[in-house]
């Protein structure tokens, strides 16, 4: 027995010392390669056009209109995700009902279908001569080639991220904490607002960010249903498009330098926005990480 037990302790620390750096190196190489794949194409974009082009792109009225349309409609899509997606996530997290797995699969569907199909489906619903066409016009929200079409496609492709993230976050809230709060005098609504929501908020916000990112980057569905967008109403006044469609157009016209410049500008804005949120989380400016970071 003493022979069997005596040998390993002497060699174990040494082996650990030897494999430690190797293991670390492997991790660094693997994650570094992936990071490189993310960064290199972006660098190519930034270096293709002179930096001055980036400023002139920012000054162009067409680019500004496209940026405005993109941020405005993606903002509305995120608002819709807040209003409809968070309650749905709560429902899925807290209630068990027959057919819940079907509902959950349906929610995940927009994540997996090619987005061209989404545009096509909506298109078939609202083309001229269909009841959908008449209805959307009658209520003042015509869809084809309008800002509402853009918003609708964006909601379709982006809201699932909020639903799924909220569901997971609500589920992760310790039921006993909620019960303690109830017993201390909080009604269901108060307990939701003072306990459940604050505790789930961090995950929900992460989901909203993903939703927003997905909405902003959408192109497939938009190519079908809102390729050209008339902000003032169908075929009325100036025409624009989302930034993704705008870049696609410039590229199709063979104008590589402009496409690269507009892309770089958009990337810069998106990157700064994400960075701000992360820094905000880190430094505790935002409420959803209090408690984790406390002294």
């Amino acid at each position: 027995m003493s022979r069997g037990v005596g040998a390993p302790p002497a060699s174990a620390p040494r082996r650990h010392w030897r494999t430690g750096p190797l293991w670390l190196a492997l991790q660094l190489v693997l994650s570094g390669s992936l990071l490189l794949l993310f960064v290199v194409p972006i660098l190519a974009l930034f270096t293709y056009a002179p930096i001055g082009d980036l400023f002139s792109a920012a000054g162009s009225a067409g680019v500004r209109a496209a940026l405005w349309l993109t941020f405005f409609s993606s903002g509305l899509a995120v608002l819709a995700a807040v209003l409809f997606g968070i309650p749905m996530g709560y429902l899925l997290a807290r209630r068990s009902f027959r057919g819940r797995s079907i509902v959950e699969s349906l929610v995940a569907l927009p994540v997996v279908v090619p987005h061209l199909l989404v545009g096509l489906g909506l298109f078939l619903l609202v083309i001229r001569g269909t009841p959908g066409y008449e209805f959307t016009r009658a209520i003042g929200f015509p869809v084809y080639d309008t800002i509402w079409g853009v918003v609708l496609v964006m909601i379709f492709v982006s809201a699932p991220y909020t639903v799924l993230a909220s569901e997971l976050s609500f589920r992760a809230v310790d039921g006993r904490v909620i019960e303690a709060a109830r017993s201390l005098g909080a009604g269901p609504a108060t307990a939701f607002l003072t306990v459940t929501l604050p505790l789930a908020l961090r995950g929900i916000v992460a989901g909203l960010l993903l939703s927003w990112a997905r909405a902003v980057s959408e192109i497939g569905g938009l190519l079908v249903i809102a390729y050209a967008v008339y902000p003032a109403g169908p075929y009325n006044g100036p025409v624009t498009s989302t930034i993704s469609v705008y870049i696609y157009n410039v590229f199709q016209n063979g104008n590589l330098a402009d496409a690269a410049a507009v892309s770089s500008l958009f990337l810069l804005i998106a990157f700064v926005l994400f960075l701000l949120v992360r820094i905000g989380e880190r430094s505790g400016w935002v409420p959803w990480r209090r408690g984790d970071l406390a002294p």
Binding site: R176, E179, L184
Partner: protein, 347 residues
């Protein structure tokens, strides 16, 4: 705000688990410990009391009013769940203030300070629960429960996750609470030793049913059956089947004669046995283990595994494995187990 609570034939169902019927009377200033193994229904009982589980039959009366259909927030009951349920996103002060804040109580500020002071939480007021020790978290939980002016405190596993010092401290906090607040307390635990240190009376649950309900002395003097006897800490518990057999004049037949066909429980006899007229039995040593109370020795005597104890301070030499040692049992220490004794868990 002291109230008297009566639980009258309470039954509840959770999936395939059935709880009850349970009868309890909770009087101000007295503590009831609900004992039971894991899965016995202790937490289920507390959650039914607190209003998180529908009562399918029976009533919960608070000062004569049936509250069994009331919402949890209307019951005026301080429920401290397992893990304490502190709000992780609020500071210590924020947690204590919480019940008063949601009721918009005007004196929330001074009352919070008073409670923080009383439970020595002042210096920790701005910390978050995750940065507190187990004992500190317990104090926050009690202070917060009191902030809601509960008519009953219901506490699931108060000692869970505490080190020995913190347990000791919690004991004195609970004693103080009982003395000053005049609130009935219901504690749930699977550790009888801790329950004895605080509770006035005991409820033993097994598979959702009340198996025993009495005060501490009764529980020690006459455990209902083999399960309860083992549960409350009798080292030597023998069911009737274990006592069967054995030649006339043997250890087993002597025990059988003393308790008249029932099972038997007795605390570990001391070794060496005191002088007396009781017969001397002999056992073969199977194990020798040091404990704070002395040395625990297991011997096999007439096919029964009997636990003996050499009280501290121990005078050497210690018995060795396989050695034969002599012991005596004071007949007055034998506790007959009632007829139900044969039907312990799994029996």
């Amino acid at each position: 705000m002291s109230s008297e609570w009566v639980v009258d034939g309470l039954e509840a169902d959770l999936d395939h688990f059935h709880l009850g019927p349970v009868d309890l009377t909770l009087t101000p200033g007295r503590a009831v410990a609900v004992l039971g193994a894991s899965g016995a229904g202790k937490t289920t009982l507390l959650r039914a009391l607190a209003g998180f589980l529908r009562v399918t039959r029976g009533r919960i009366l608070r000062d004569g009013v049936d509250i069994s259909e009331w919402e949890p927030e209307e019951r005026g009951l301080g429920y401290v769940p397992q893990g304490l349920g502190l709000l992780p996103h609020r500071t210590v002060a924020g947690n204590v203030r919480y019940p008063m804040e949601i009721r918009a109580r005007a004196d929330a500020g001074p009352r919070t300070r008073e409670l923080l002071e009383r439970f020595h939480l002042g210096p920790l007021a701005q910390r978050y629960p995750a940065r507190l020790s187990g004992g500190e978290q317990q104090r926050v939980a009690i202070a917060r429960a009191l902030a809601a002016d509960p008519g009953l405190i219901v506490w699931d596993e108060p000692w869970q996750g505490l080190d020995v010092l913190a347990r000791h401290e919690l004991g004195s906090v609970l004693d103080d609470l009982r003395a000053t607040e005049q609130v009935p307390i219901v504690l749930v635990t699977h550790d009888p030793a801790l329950a004895f240190s605080i509770a006035d009376s005991f409820v033993v649950l097994t598979a959702g049913r009340v198996r025993e309900q009495c005060d501490a002395l009764t529980l020690m003097a006459a455990p209902a059956d083999a399960f309860v006897a083992r549960f409350v800490g009798f080292e030597n518990v023998f069911e009737p089947s274990a006592l069967a057999g054995g030649a006339p004049g043997s250890f087993r037949s002597w025990l059988r004669q003393r308790v008249g066909g029932d099972g038997v429980a007795f605390a570990s006899p001391d070794l060496p046995g005191r002088d007396g007229s009781d017969p001397i039995w002999e056992g073969k040593v199977r194990s020798v283990r040091p404990t704070p109370q002395g040395i625990t020795i297991e011997v096999v005597a007439d096919e029964l595994m009997v636990t003996l104890r050499m009280p501290s301070p121990v005078t050497p030499p210690l018995p060795t494995l396989g050695e034969r040692v002599a012991f005596r049992i004071d007949p007055a220490s034998l506790r007959p187990l009632r007829a139900a004794g044969g039907r312990g868990p799994g029996g």
